[in-house]
C-alpha cells in the first residue's frame, strides 16, 4: 500500500505549511504511525496542541476527519453502531398482514439499511482516506476502553448479526489523553506513544509568530521568554500554548511594544487562572535573583 508521507523532514515541512510547528519527535512518530499502520496515543498537558495535530494531519493529507469525543458513560451505541429499532419496528408492522417467513424478516431487519453507524464504524467503512480522532480517551471508564481494542489492533468491527466488517482503507488514528488516569496496558501496547510537552522557547516564539498576525519579532521573543520563566515556577497550572497565544494577541491589541512589569502584572490573568498562582508568579518575577536551579 502506498504511504502518505515520503520522509520525516518532508512531513515536518508540510505540517509547517498548515501552521502546525512540529518538532523531530512529533513528526517522527506521525511518520512511523503511517508506515507501521498503528494508532498514536498523544499525551501531554492541556493546551499543547494534541487535538490540533490530528486536525493538521487530516488537512495535509486531504483526508476526512472523523472525531469521537469521549465522555464518561460513552457506550457501544454511541461509539460503534446501533440498530435503528424504530425503523425495524415499522418494517415489522408493515409486514403485519402478510405471512412472510420470520427468518426472512429477521435477515431483512438486521441488514445494512437498519444500521446506524457511529464514528468508529464510520471510519472503518469509509471508502476515502480518513483520519480518526478519539479525543480525551482518558474520560471513558476502563471497561469502555475495551471497545476500542479491536478497532485499534485489527482495524475491524464485529457485529454479531452481520459478521466482521473490515476496514476498506487503514485510517490514521489519533487518541488524545490529558492523563487524568492511567490508561490500560492493553490500549497502550497497541499504540505508538507520543508525549507532547510545552514547546521550548525557540519553538514557542515561532508558534506565536505564525499564529498571531501583526506581532513584531521583538514582542514575540519577549512573550516566549516571560512564559518560559513562568513555567519554571512551581505552579498549580502552567500556562498552555493556547494561553500564550491569547496573551500575545492581547498585547498586540493593547499596542504594547515592550513588556515591562506593569504590563505583565495587569495582563497575567490571561496566562494564569488561579489567584494563588498569579500572586506567586508576580512575586517571583519581581525578584531579580531568580529561583535557585
Amino acid at each position: 500500500m502506498s504511504h502518505r508521507f515520503s520522509d520525516v523532514a518532508a512531513l515536518k515541512d508540510e505540517l509547517a505549511g498548515v501552521d502546525y510547528l512540529s518538532d523531530e519527535g512529533i513528526a517522527g512518530v506521525v511518520y512511523l504511525a503511517d508506515r507501521l499502520q498503528k494508532p498514536i496515543l498523544v499525551e501531554g498537558p492541556a493546551g499543547t496542541g494534541k487535538t490540533q495535530l490530528a486536525k493538521s494531519v487530516s488537512e495535509i493529507t486531504g483526508a476526512r476527519l472523523i472525531r469521537l469525543q469521549c465522555y464518561e458513560g460513552l457506550d457501544e451505541a454511541k461509539a460503534l453502531y446501533e440498530w435503528n429499532y424504530k425503523k425495524q419496528l415499522l418494517r415489522i408492522q408493515a409486514e403485519g398482514g402478510s405471512d412472510e417467513d420470520w427468518t426472512d424478516l429477521s435477515d431483512d431487519i438486521f441488514s445494512d439499511e437498519f444500521l446506524l453507524t457511529r464514528p468508529l464504524l464510520e471510519a472503518i467503512r469509509a471508502e476515502e482516506p480518513v483520519v480518526l480522532l478519539i479525543d480525551e480517551v482518558d474520560r471513558v471508564e476502563v471497561e469502555t476502553e475495551a471497545l476500542l481494542l479491536e478497532i485499534l489492533s485489527d482495524y475491524q468491527v464485529s457485529i454479531p448479526e452481520l459478521g466482521t466488517i473490515e476496514a476498506k482503507q487503514i485510517p490514521l488514528v489519533f487518541l488524545t489523553s490529558n492523563n487524568t488516569r492511567e490508561l490500560s496496558e492493553a490500549l497502550k501496547r497497541r499504540c505508538l506513544y507520543l508525549h507532547v510537552d510545552y514547546p521550548d522557547m525557540e519553538r514557542e516564539k515561532e508558534i506565536v509568530l505564525t499564529k498571531v498576525p501583526d506581532i513584531t519579532e521583538n514582542l514575540a521573543d519577549q512573550v516566549a521568554r516571560v512564559v518560559r520563566s513562568i513555567r519554571q515556577i512551581e505552579l498549580k497550572k502552567h500556562p498552555s500554548v493556547s494561553e500564550t497565544l491569547d496573551w500575545a494577541k492581547t498585547l498586540v491589541l493593547l499596542g504594547v511594544e515592550k513588556i515591562d512589569e506593569q504590563t505583565a502584572a495587569s495582563t497575567i490573568n490571561i496566562l494564569l487562572k488561579y489567584q494563588s498562582d498569579i500572586n506567586k508568579a508576580l512575586k517571583e518575577l519581581a525578584t531579580a535573583d531568580g529561583v535557585t536551579p
Binding site: 512518530v29 506513544y193 521568554r225
Partner: protein
C-alpha cells in the same frame, strides 16, 4: 502481525542480525532499569527501525521511544539507557578519532569566531585557561550549541582529571569540571554586560528574564559536560557496567527516606498529577458503586404501570459513608519527608473524606488541622507545619509513648466509630516507654487504626524500633516507602 511474520520480515530488508542483537541488548537494559517492555512492543520496535534512517540518531531515538516507552515518567530512564547504550556507536561519537579531531574543531571555531587565526592545527591542546574561559563566555553569550559542545569537551579533558579504571562516579568528575569553570561567575559577568549595553539600569523584571535566559544556556552547557563525561566513562568501563551505575529508580519507586535533593524535586512534581488521578478514580468508584437498599415505596409506585407486578425494583440512592481521617505523623528528621508527602496526599484528596484532622509529633504533639484550612497551596501549608508546629517537649528526639499519651488525653474523646486513624512513623522510640495500651484503646473506639512505616520491613523491630509492639493492636501495618505504595494504600482506604 504474528510473531513469525515479524521475525521473518525483520531480516530480509537489509536489517541484519547485528541490529537485532543490538536492539535486544538495549531492551534487556531497559527492563533492568525497571521499564515494562512487552514482547509486542519489542517486535514493534524492530519494525519501526526498519522505516527510519539508522544514521539519523534523533529520529532513531524517537522511533524507539514511541514503541517502547508508554509512560512519560519513564522517559528520563529511557534517555539515560539510550545515551549510555548507543554512546559509542554514532559516527561523531567515535572516541578513538576524537583525540586527533577535536582540538582542530575547537580551533576552527576559535579562528572563526574570535578572529585569532594564528593558532595552527592541534593548537586546541594548548588553550590556556584564560582562552577557555573566554570561549565559555562567548558561547554562553551567543547560546551557540556547537561552541558549547567544544567547550564541554575541552573542559572535561582539562579539568575533570579522569583516570582509567578509577572507581568514582560521574558526579565527582562533573563537580570537578564545574568548579573549575566557574559558570556562576561567568553568568554574573554576562548580566553586568547586559546592563552596560542598555545604558540605563534594567528593572528587576528585566534582570530576571535575562538571568533565566543565561541560566537555561548554562544548563545546556552542563548537559553537554555530563554527556561528555558519560561518553568517556563508557569508553573506559564498557556499556553494561555504566548502565548499571547510572540506573536510577523511577520516580514512583524512589525511597522517601533516602531521596536525594534532585529526587525530592521530581517527587514533588510527581505528587500533584498523582493526587489528581487518585481523586478522579475515587470519585468514579463512588459514583458507580453499589446501589442503596431497596426503596419499597417507589417500587410499589412503579409497579402500578405493570398492573401491580413489581417488575422494576427501585433502589435508594447509596449513602456513601465518607470516612473521617485522623493523621498522626512523626515529623522528626529521619521520617519528615515521608510525613510531608502523606499529608500532602491526604489533603489533596480531602474531598473524599468527611473530615480530615492532622496531628504532628516528635516528643510533644500538636494539632495542625487549622494550617490546612482555607489554604489553596498545600505545599505552603506543609511547609508551615514543619516550621510552626509545637512538637518538642523535652529534647526533640522521637518519643512515641509520650506523644500518644498527649493525643489520648487531649483528643481521645473525639475519636468516634467512623474515624480511621493513620499513624505515620518508623516507631524508633529511643528506648522510651511504648505506652502501646493507647493504641489498643484507640482501636476500640475507632473504625480502624493503620500504621504506615517508611522503613523496609526487614528493619522493623531491630534496634530501638518497636513497631511490632504497636502492630499487635493495629488493624494493619504497612510498609510505605515510595509513592507507588502510598498511592495503593490511600486507594484502599477511601
Amino acid at each position: 502481525m504474528t510473531v513469525t511474520d515479524a521475525a521473518a520480515d525483520a531480516t530480509p530488508e537489509g536489517v541484519g542480525d547485528p541490529i537485532l542483537d543490538l536492539l535486544n541488548g538495549f531492551i534487556v537494559q531497559l527492563r533492568a532499569a525497571g521499564l515494562p517492555v512487552s514482547l509486542t512492543e519489542n517486535l514493534d520496535a524492530m519494525q519501526a527501525i526498519r522505516h527510519v534512517p539508522l544514521e539519523d540518531r534523533e529520529t532513531f531515538k524517537y522511533a524507539l521511544a514511541a514503541t517502547l516507552v508508554k509512560h512519560h515518567n519513564h522517559w528520563k530512564a529511557f534517555e539515560t539507557v539510550f545515551e549510555v547504550y548507543f554512546s559509542l556507536r554514532g559516527d561523531e561519537y567515535q572516541i578513538g578519532d576524537e583525540l586527533v579531531e577535536l582540538p582542530e574543531m575547537d580551533d576552527d571555531e576559535q579562528g572563526d569566531q574570535q578572529g585569532s587565526g594564528d593558532q595552527q592545527g592541534g593548537g586546541g591542546e594548548n588553550l590556556t585557561p584564560e582562552e577557555l574561559a573566554e570561549m565559555l563566555y562567548q558561547s554562553l553569550m551567543r547560546g551557540d550549541q556547537q561552541m558549547m559542545r567544544g567547550v564541554a569537551r575541552q573542559a572535561v579533558k582539562r579539568y575533570a582529571g579522569m583516570e582509567p579504571g578509577r572507581p568514582v562516579g560521574g558526579t565527582y568528575y562533573l563537580y570537578r569540571t564545574l568548579r573549575n569553570l566557574d559558570i556562576d561567575g561567568v553568568l554574573e559577568r554576562l548580566l553586568e554586560q547586559e546592563q552596560n549595553e542598555d545604558g540605563e539600569a534594567p528593572s528587576d523584571f528585566e534582570q530576571r528574564l535575562a538571568r533565566d535566559e543565561y541560566q537555561s544556556r548554562a544548563n545546556q552547557l552542563q548537559q553537554e559536560i555530563e554527556a561528555e563525561i558519560r561518553r568517556r566513562l563508557v569508553a573506559d568501563r564498557g556499556v553494561e557496567a555504566m548502565a548499571k551505575t547510572l540506573r536510577k529508580p523511577l520516580p514512583e519507586d524512589v525511597d522517601f527516606m533516602h531521596a536525594s535533593r534532585e529526587e525530592m524535586a521530581s517527587l514533588r512534581k510527581a505528587i500533584w498529577p498523582l493526587t489528581r488521578k487518585l481523586a478522579a478514580r475515587l470519585q468514579r468508584k463512588r459514583r458507580h458503586g453499589r446501589k442503596g437498599p431497596l426503596d419499597f415505596r417507589r417500587t410499589v409506585r412503579a409497579s402500578l404501570s405493570y398492573g401491580g407486578v413489581p417488575a422494576e425494583p427501585k433502589f435508594r440512592n447509596p449513602r456513601p459513608h465518607k470516612p473521617e481521617i485522623f493523621v498522626i505523623a512523626d515529623i522528626s528528621g529521619s521520617v519528615a519527608a515521608f510525613a510531608r508527602f502523606t499529608l500532602h496526599l491526604v489533603y489533596a484528596i480531602s474531598g473524599q473524606f468527611s473530615k480530615v484532622r492532622a496531628f504532628v509529633f516528635i516528643d510533644g504533639l500538636d494539632e495542625v488541622t487549622h494550617m490546612f484550612e482555607g489554604v489553596e497551596d498545600i505545599n505552603e501549608a506543609v511547609h508551615r507545619v514543619n516550621t510552626e508546629a509545637d512538637v518538642v517537649w523535652v529534647d526533640g528526639h522521637s518519643d512515641y509513648g509520650h506523644a500518644l499519651g498527649v493525643f489520648w488525653e487531649k483528643y481521645g474523646n473525639e475519636i468516634g466509630p467512623r474515624t480511621s486513624i493513620m499513624i505515620l512513623g518508623d516507631a524508633r522510640n529511643n528506648y522510651h516507654a511504648s505506652e502501646s495500651w493507647i493504641i489498643k484503646a484507640m482501636n476500640e473506639k475507632a473504625r480502624a487504626v493503620h500504621w504506615l512505616n517508611p522503613e523496609p520491613q526487614s528493619y522493623w523491630d531491630t534496634g530501638d524500633s518497636i513497631v511490632g509492639e504497636y502492630a499487635q493492636h493495629c488493624d494493619g501495618t504497612f510498609e510505605v516507602r515510595n509513592l507507588r505504595q502510598l498511592e495503593a494504600f490511600v486507594d484502599n482506604l477511601a
